[in-house]
């Protein structure tokens, strides 16, 4: 049953499913657990993944705003392992590497990814309308929700950082304030979703086409009065500024980092960052880190 040929991607997945279903009540806090049981009277080790590499059916992949696409794939039984801040590595035809894309939101049997067309890979991805895609994930460590209930949140999103910030927002027990900066009005996505959740949203655009003209961190500096937890996801220059502000105002929180990555699982070591004086991998140890520990 667990002979050599059973270990195609799909089968690892289904073995995992099988055992995961059986031990559903256990709490899985580590990346994976090892189970021992007997197959043909020999001891077999089965590792129970919380990350999976499989082919999933595309439900839709439509342009939600010029240059921005939302990909929805059908994924059963994996969504339970997803948490805000995590991402998947998505295979794209014709390019060599998979593309890391963070989770935008999760339903019981589907996952959504919101992405911007920025290069060859995302361009090709945006043209795929049906069929399946190979996805590896969920990957990385998301936001650590422990002891958040008393907090007053301020959330900062820059550009496509909004994609995973929205997922986070859906999981928070109370509303916060969203500071959302983009290049231009046409780059603002998800606003309707935050409004539907009754979030207070402060907007800035670099060209002034909507909201404050300038960087969102300028606005952030003026706010933050009652904030006890600061969360930020966006381009590195923005994060640098956010970290600086958090330091000055002595506010704790989290930032979600981004770097070029080849594998998404810690093997290529491309996405290194200094955390508390130590080299860490964004893909594996992050992408979410404690704001006070990040050195950018």
């Amino acid at each position: 049953m667990f002979g050599k040929r059973d270990f195609s991607c799909g089968n690892i997945l289904s073995i995992s499913y099988f055992v995961v279903r059986a031990i559903n009540s256990l709490s899985l806090n580590t990346r994976f657990s090892k189970f021992v049981f007997l197959v043909n009277e020999k001891v077999a080790y089965i590792y129970i993944s919380k990350r999976f590499d499989g082919n999933y059916k595309i439900i839709s992949n439509r342009e939600v705003r010029a240059g921005y696409f939302e990909l929805i794939v059908k994924i059963d039984n994996i969504t339970r392992y997803c948490s805000p801040g995590q991402f998947f590595m998505i295979s794209v035809p014709e390019v060599f590497l998979r593309r890391p894309i963070s989770i935008h939101y999760v339903k019981k049997d589907s996952l959504s990814f919101l992405y911007k067309v920025v290069g060859k890979g995302t361009k090709i991805l945006s043209k795929i309308q049906s069929g399946t895609l190979q996805l590896l994930g969920p990957l990385g460590n998301g936001y650590d929700f422990k002891n958040w209930e008393q907090s007053s949140y301020t959330v900062v999103a820059g550009g496509t950082g909004i994609a995973s910030i929205y997922y986070l927002a859906t999981k928070l027990t109370q509303n916060g304030i969203l500071y959302y900066g983009a290049r231009s009005e046409r780059d603002l996505v998800c606003l309707d979703k935050f409004k539907k959740m009754n979030w207070k949203v402060i907007i800035s655009t670099e060209d002034g086409s909507k909201g404050y003209k300038g960087y969102i961190t300028d606005m952030l500096l003026k706010g933050l009065n009652d904030t006890t937890l600061l969360i930020a996801c966006g381009p590195t220059p923005m994060l640098k500024k956010v970290i600086q502000i958090a330091k000055v105002k002595c506010i704790k929180g989290f930032v979600s980092l981004e770097e070029k990555m080849a594998c998404g699982i810690g093997n290529c070591q491309s996405c290194a960052v200094k955390i508390n004086g130590q080299i860490r991998m964004i893909c594996k140890d992050g992408p979410v880190f404690r704001i006070e520990e990040v050195e950018l």
Binding site: K4, R5, F7, S8, C9, I12, R31, F32, K34, Y47, I48, S49, K50, R51, D53, S91, V95, F96, L97, R98, G121, Q134, L136, E259, K260, M261, A262, C263, I265, G266, N267, C268, Q269, S270, C271, A272, V273, I279
Partner: protein
């Protein structure tokens, strides 16, 4: 009949010829949840140095056509920490472990090899000879340095020593022969290809170090050529490396003269490819009625006579 995939490399027995390539599979034990590690022929760890190393600045990778440029800068926890934790975990996998090492000088290589040589559970040492030397040149571009490193490491090592060579040399056969003459028990061909990519939006290099090493499907035909040429000059075995994405690619390297192969970029793209490659080799053997994979090593050399032109 089930074909025999086992090979012997430098007196070490491997149940199949598919190894992980150094620097692309972490310390070697981390992906146990994603692929059955015990099915691998062997694991070559990331390169370990005497002292911990932080590696290079960002960005460290860039995608190119059918490949990847990298400039990681040998980031690792150092030999002392490696022995404490990763090596302990590796030993339990039941798969031959080859530890890749590097240094900026002969003495660094020797000292690191000495420490490893006292450990149990290591099948061989692979010398990464494509790292920068003290003058920031690639070690392999200094023939006498290469010779010294191999000679001195061999003096103190109790386990086989494999020299991983850079392909960017005028005469790969000469370099391979030099490794053999200094006592190397095998060579790995090849390490990455020096390359560069410039961002057309910023007019700057895509890597912090400006240049990096290219790997992936794009380099395969060049590494096949290196294996083919070296095989004719040496009698020690070769680990073929460079752009192996499928079982066919692995067989191609073995036909050119490789006894084993190491798979790198392909497993970065999809770790399960390592297992697929092993299965595909078996499929090819069944289809071509090859009883033992050992029988095809260097077969293309035996099949053909060299024509005069090129």
């Amino acid at each position: 009949m089930k074909p025999d995939l086992s090979i012997v490399f430098a007196n070490v027995k491997f149940k199949n010829p598919v190894l992980t390539a150094s620097g692309t599979f972490g310390y070697g034990y981390e992906l146990a949840d994603l692929i059955p590690l015990e099915k691998l022929g062997g694991i070559i760890t990331k390169t370990i140095t005497l002292k911990p190393c932080d590696g290079n600045l960002q960005p460290r990778v860039a995608e190119v056509t059918s490949g990847i440029l990298n400039s990681i800068g040998l980031q690792n926890i150092g030999i002392k920490s490696f022995i404490e934790e990763p090596l302990e975990k590796l030993k339990k996998l039941g798969v031959p472990v080859i530890v890749s090492i590097a240094g900026a000088s002969v003495s660094e290589y020797v000292e690191t090899a000495k420490i490893l040589s006292c450990q149990n559970g290591i099948s061989a040492i692979e010398l990464n000879l494509s790292c920068p030397n003290l003058e920031k040149k690639i070690v392999c571009h200094d023939l006498s340095l290469v010779q010294n490193i191999i000679k001195e490491v061999k003096k103190i090592s109790k386990i086989p020593v494999i020299a991983k060579l850079s392909p960017l040399v005028t005469d790969i056969s000469e370099l391979a022969l030099a490794a053999e003459n200094q006592g190397a028990d095998g060579i790995t061909l090849t390490n990455t290809y020096p390359a560069m990519a410039i961002d057309i939006k910023t007019f700057k290099s895509k890597l912090s170090t400006l240049k990096g090493g290219m790997s992936g499907a794009c380099v395969k035909p060049m590494s096949i050529r290196c294996v083919y040429d070296a095989w004719q000059s040496i009698s020690i075995p070769i680990i073929g490396c460079g752009g192996i994405m499928t079982g066919e690619d692995a067989v191609e390297f073995m036909l050119a003269g490789a006894t084993a192969v190491s798979v790198g970029s392909s497993s970065l793209v999809s770790p399960i490819n390592l297992i697929k490659i092993i299965n595909e080799i078996e499929d090819i053997m069944i289809k071509k009625n090859i009883l033992s994979i050992k029988n095809i090593i260097g077969m293309v050399n035996k099949n053909e006579k060299n024509n005069t032109c090129s």
